[in-house]
Point group: C2
Amino acid sequence: MGNSEFESCKAQGFVAVPPAKPFAESLKSSLREVFFPDDPFRGFKNQPLSRKFLMGLQYFVPIFDWAPRYNRQYLKSDIVAGITIASLAVPQGISYANLAKLPPIIGLYSSFIPPLIYAILGSSRDLAIGTIAVGSLLIFSMIGKEVNPIEQMNLYIHLAFTATFFAGIFQASLGFLRLGFIVDLLSHATIVGFMGGAATVVCLQQLRAMFGLEHFTHNTDIISVMKSVSTQFHQWRWESLLLGVCFLSFLLVTKYFSKKKPGLFWISAMAPLVSVILGSLLVYVTHGEQHGVKVIGPLKSGVNRLSIKDLEFGPEHLHVAIRTGIVIGTIAMAEGVAVGRSFATYKNYHIDGNKEMIAFGLMNIVGSCTSCYLTSGPFSRTAVNCSAGGKTAVSNIVMAVAVLITLLFLTPLFYYTPMVVLASIIFSAMLGLVDYEAAIHLWKIDKFDFVICISAYVGVVFGSVETGLEVAVAISLIRVLLYLVRPRTSVLGSIPNSEAYRSMDQYPLAKSVPGVLILQMSCPIYFTNASYLRERISRWIAEEEDKSKSSGESSLQYLILDMSAVGSIDTSGISMLQDVRKQTDRKGIKLVLANPGSEVVKKLGKSKFIEEIGREWIHLSVGHAVAACNFTMLSVKQKNVDVSAGDFATPDIV
Amino acid sequence: MGNSEFESCKAQGFVAVPPAKPFAESLKSSLREVFFPDDPFRGFKNQPLSRKFLMGLQYFVPIFDWAPRYNRQYLKSDIVAGITIASLAVPQGISYANLAKLPPIIGLYSSFIPPLIYAILGSSRDLAIGTIAVGSLLIFSMIGKEVNPIEQMNLYIHLAFTATFFAGIFQASLGFLRLGFIVDLLSHATIVGFMGGAATVVCLQQLRAMFGLEHFTHNTDIISVMKSVSTQFHQWRWESLLLGVCFLSFLLVTKYFSKKKPGLFWISAMAPLVSVILGSLLVYVTHGEQHGVKVIGPLKSGVNRLSIKDLEFGPEHLHVAIRTGIVIGTIAMAEGVAVGRSFATYKNYHIDGNKEMIAFGLMNIVGSCTSCYLTSGPFSRTAVNCSAGGKTAVSNIVMAVAVLITLLFLTPLFYYTPMVVLASIIFSAMLGLVDYEAAIHLWKIDKFDFVICISAYVGVVFGSVETGLEVAVAISLIRVLLYLVRPRTSVLGSIPNSEAYRSMDQYPLAKSVPGVLILQMSCPIYFTNASYLRERISRWIAEEEDKSKSSGESSLQYLILDMSAVGSIDTSGISMLQDVRKQTDRKGIKLVLANPGSEVVKKLGKSKFIEEIGREWIHLSVGHAVAACNFTMLSVKQKNVDVSAGDFATPDIV
């Protein structure tokens, strides 16, 4: 179609078929849009090769990008922030390792190597790296089902490393294949419900240490745990419970203060370390370990040893390692990317989700070879890092150095640290994750999101962590598919004093056009909704005919489909339109299309549908289409009047 | 919001928040739309109770609806059509039972009871009921994997009945729960590829009878079959092959003639029966059964016996029966509903998919208790029924009577019927299902649909029938989800001589508005695309800023988001909009929304987003929004000119 023809069509309000692109080119552009929506190599164009190489290096290893601009001012802030998060990292590392039923020292190892790797590869300036509670719990609940963490301790530890290895592989390959959008399938509502549920489950696990119980269920659901606690009523240790309640109150009070006065953030950041020191001193002085207060016991000092030979690739446990790896990899990635993104938005810089995934992946692969288990960017530690004034990833390096010093010289000090203090630390960290306010907000704005959130919560708390996740993801996808299975169609009417045609439901003032039914299609017409739309449209027509019959208005002569919102159509959709045309033809109604988009027009052209209904019946806008219908109706009526005055029979337009 | 306020807003082109509906009411209306889109009980309103009861009976048992209007004219047509399809049903029934490795007599049983049930409950006037090739093959390939059809014949037959029973339960419950739209998840492209693949696989299975082979692979994929045929080169029987080629040619030639002259449809309809008679006579005369031509052998006469006690609900085989039942139930339902719908559309009447499913389900449940296996409405038989002039479901009753006569008196005549003739009948019926023209059509119109079609075909032919189906459904769903993960955003420009704003890609004539970036969102904003849209919008802004910098045009001051096509939004989508607003605020760009739909406006109102950006910045159309932006830019500029002439610095609007 030449440009002049195009212009003449345009003047009449007709829609032009856009120029056809070669298949290879359109494939390339859609692949680009799917995998490189942020166009990361935009700046690379028109640069010399050496510059391109440098830019590529800076792109893939961000430390080369920011290190040259690093200055003393930054260093000062980063040292303060690094020491602050280290004081949180040491007790949290030990606690979470305990949650994963791994030796406490592995928790410390995991706060040493991974932060260093991330400092080199990561592009977030705020993320503080460490182990995460939900990941730790998942390792226990998934691997613990197959291998007993106490009886087969070595195998259990090796499987935890192997699962971390696979988690890293999974994360890095998703990032490398630019499939990062898979993380987006965890919606905000899913994450709120899931994190709340996981936090509840983690707190429930702490009841063991709180009550000083010897035996405890291996399940994580609330019913098993409550049964386990209540049936052992006579084994409850009041010493343990007393200590737990005291330290928990202390931690919660400091948290409350820091929340009230954000300047005092360091109080709540330091509180866990203070609790550990106080608790250890107390036990040391009172010989509490001989009175039912369990302590950590001996920790061997020294840095991470290589664990590459510990990875278990034998067929017997491979499936559980891979399955666990994928689940914990997804969760760790989702948390890390979400936290990184929200701080980046807050501080107005950009991070590339796919690149972050590669960084997380490599961090976990290296970690799994150096006696570390799953790490990510936990929210609590990152928030502390940010409030403490951390400027770059150097704060992670400072934290790693502080952990290194702990590993080398300070491990004997943890001998008398009571387990119940660790439990209190986890408890107080988790309570903030049960975000009931967010759930109420969801209920107010979007009931369906609330259902998703609650099912994730219930699934995690009453079933298992995986169940909750699976249920929530399934419901989210059903919600999305439901939109494509039952799209909304609405009747449009003319808005007075305006050229716009809008939904009569939304705008009570909109007036229908006599003899014309205007339907708005509201989503791509795919096989999922083609049959529905076919039936729905014929029902609209039937209802309109009933109405005009009963009210004695002029009978229906035109059906205008507003295609503005139809972004795409497939072959099932096209046959639906063909069926609608046949149906309207049979009833003597003319089918008119308004404003089909470029992809739709192209496909309608290829399938000869445009020729079937006539190019002159495809209009630029609903307004143009209505004008054309009114014009034809008027001229037909006038002709009829000319032929036999008074004969107002419905003219046969087709 | 009062009506007067609404009107005053309207006059200024602002969008009003539609009146809030109570939660229960909106839930009810969405459930109605999901489950009763065709509003089947519309006519029931305002009717007396007795009338309602009668209408309900007529709705659920359609024979009460049409029987009173039945007349002699119809009966004449139906008898002719019924006898014609019976002549097809007898040889096809025997052939397909053979394909399912069930005794041939079961194929005849299945053409007797189910058509009677359907005649009472079904709402299609054209569907001719019988066994289907793909369903038969699936029974063999799925149950045959667990139980050998020759060595454990009785168990195998019982499992086939049990699977049919579960298929019926599955179909009826989907229909009853009004979940019929699940069938729509099999897109046109999937069905073309799947049916073609299944037909190919069925033809491959006929090679056994064609070459007169004793042993044959139990797999259905092309590689196993070809290996099986070629390695047995020395066992090939030329007598069998010769007969097969002759009858196949005969059948194909009659088919060709009937296609050329639609009036001669009865030639191809009768050809199978003629082949059976000729083949049997030939074997009888030449004693071919002693020269390597296998024959059906003795068939016991008599009608269906009750098989309700044969159903196997024991735990050992329950899972295979249920699994097979669900797969064959889905396939049978998809074929039957699709065939019924297309003939209904062709003849301009309406059938309710959910009601059809209940009819199919009951037919298969009753069938499974009376020695029948899976039945549906096969395309070939229905087409013959329609060409032979069948008017109502009475033709099914006539066919059932004819089959009954065969069962009672004519079974001995099939003793000498050669298997190879049955193979030829299946072969010629299947060839028409490999619809390569449809595949070419898909390639021309929609490449993605073509990929779906081909993967279904390849999956079925090289893998197994289930694999092909699963792969195709998965790809179809990914395609649909991809649309929601990477929706298209496009920049709009003003179309000259029109108030419309359209995509600059589609309309090369569209002109951008200086200082204003107009972006069109093209699908519901959900968690699946919220992060993508956030990044894509900031890239659009960055590109626009680069452009205006390099060209020296006025800098970007307004971002208008055209929300016309955003049918729905969830909480992730709302936080995306909030992030976009923060980002634009920081850059001194004002965010403006144009034409948000009622659901979107409601949610934006509840989440206070409307207050955040200011109600006056939400406009009825892009045109209104642009006018408001231009007006503000002009007045700010004039003010600036007033204060200091020549100072054109970007004013801070926020």
